[in-house]
Symmetry: C2
Subunit: 349 residues, 2 copies
Amino acid sequence: LTTDLVIALDAMGGDEAPGIVVEGARIAHTRFPAARFLLFGKEEALKPLVLDGESFTKACEIRHTPEAIGAADAPAQALRRGRGSSMGLALRAVRDGEAQVAVSAGNTGALMAMAKFMFKTMSGISRPALASVLPTLQGETVMLDLGANVECDEDNLIQFAIMGAALARVILHVERPRVGLLNVGAEELKGNESVKRASQVLRETPLPLEFAGFVEGDGIGKGVADVIVTDGFTGNVALKTAEGIAELAFGLLKTAFEYSNLTRIGYVLAKPGLKRMRDHLDPSNHNGAVLIGLNGLVVKSHGSATASGFATAIGVAANMVRDQLCDRIAEDLKQVYPSGPEVTQAATS
Amino acid sequence: LTTDLVIALDAMGGDEAPGIVVEGARIAHTRFPAARFLLFGKEEALKPLVLDGESFTKACEIRHTPEAIGAADAPAQALRRGRGSSMGLALRAVRDGEAQVAVSAGNTGALMAMAKFMFKTMSGISRPALASVLPTLQGETVMLDLGANVECDEDNLIQFAIMGAALARVILHVERPRVGLLNVGAEELKGNESVKRASQVLRETPLPLEFAGFVEGDGIGKGVADVIVTDGFTGNVALKTAEGIAELAFGLLKTAFEYSNLTRIGYVLAKPGLKRMRDHLDPSNHNGAVLIGLNGLVVKSHGSATASGFATAIGVAANMVRDQLCDRIAEDLKQVYPSGPEVTQAATS
């Protein structure tokens, strides 16, 4: 199935591009040996990185692109002047059918704006969302929106639920994902108008998912649902809060083990167990947010991802292509909007 | 200073009332020996708990109150029928000047509704907020709103900043607290309209605080500001997400130490260091959310708080009285609204 897999890489995006991008592709190559990589970036920088005289070199094709989007460039600026950049050309390769998916660790705002412009939003979807997989006590959970839309109405939330469920089927291999709506309380009375109305529609509409009702913030770490749906403002804050608290825990743990010579020995003895804990929480193992809801696949890697993290993002991209994510979402939407998206929108307003 | 301190306790509020409440008061009594407690609850239940033939018994006065607000009662229900309940009478004792502050571990929605009704909102404040102190890598941070208002405009956020700064002065002893506005990015372009407008006013108005600009979710755990301001929806989700991730970390840590016999020995050796870590993150040491912005002081304890946690909440209450929190906020508000609150509201709209 992966024989025709072609992945477009924005080789100039991210804090340590292009080194990390090429190293990540090299790791991904061992997992997806039949995949081909189109690398958009400066030829003189990429050539020495790609050359290793082995099969990886053959899997790579460099497309010389001297321009790059800066980390501080505004989305509007990127739209005006970024089409010829490494990010812009990686996206165009997907639009033109040369590649099936693009991966970038560059400027998130620019990537979302350009992807929206190039791919257009899927029929039935008002706005795309940024979705990712997070570690939980049970395993993993898909969460969206992580920051594509700072203000969301109930239709956005309902569509996020459908898209998130499709993504959970692909990534978590759950046939009927439990979908929870993030809220300030589990009771039906709680929350703002958008979550209350979205909850009602999700409860009453037959959908290819199990609606789990409202979920509170602590439900994310507990893994009470396969998919957590929220607006982009709350989702972004919650995700980064979670990352910050995980860092806080590791920081305090480090201090705890440095407390005395005995605790230092304790650390050495406990290390094998602690390594598994770190692996489960390691952002590298959960890298790769999907901009979901567009007629084209694009994966956003953390700007500060390691090579191993970037390889994880490429893996997410490869799985989405293999499992035909866009087609699945389109099919699910047909169940919800049998005569076009307007029907349910009218029903909820 | 604490000779006249009288604290009204809702002895029937919380998962394990009245046992935990009385035990908490007993611990608080050792820290504030001159404080008196008015205990509202069932006399037959309270009497045996209070009697120990020592000074604590003398510090307590039982006000027999058979009625109690249920955990599932809606705020409107509490307003209609809860005035004679243990929670209602504890609040009335503050309103009538019998006590300076009330503490309850009962139903949050009911407590907020009744406190708002009985105390009324301070002049210059549109809506009260729920504020609490959270552990960070640097020490502690005040955060608000944690769930009193699911929808907030820029004026609410500006007022939260002023009230949060006053609270940080009282609780964290920082004369000019750094106040950050929670957002999806640190750049000025980012966020919804409310945070953008609030940021502009906070940047341009001379206030008794240091405006630190936008703060992202990971800034909470890092402790980048003394006060974190956000709307009640985002704040509640972020707080509970943080609690969930802390639990996740401890859960994984437990599994890590159970990995093998060697890691189990490692745990025993590392225990003294780990205890300090747990103490820093222990919710009992950070219990006690303040409903700030009313003409009366009330502290909300976690419903599932331990006796030690309830004692912490009583401590927060005692410090607010000692440091005259309401007067400080009123003074700060005068700086912002020299000719009444309407001026700035007009300037921002």
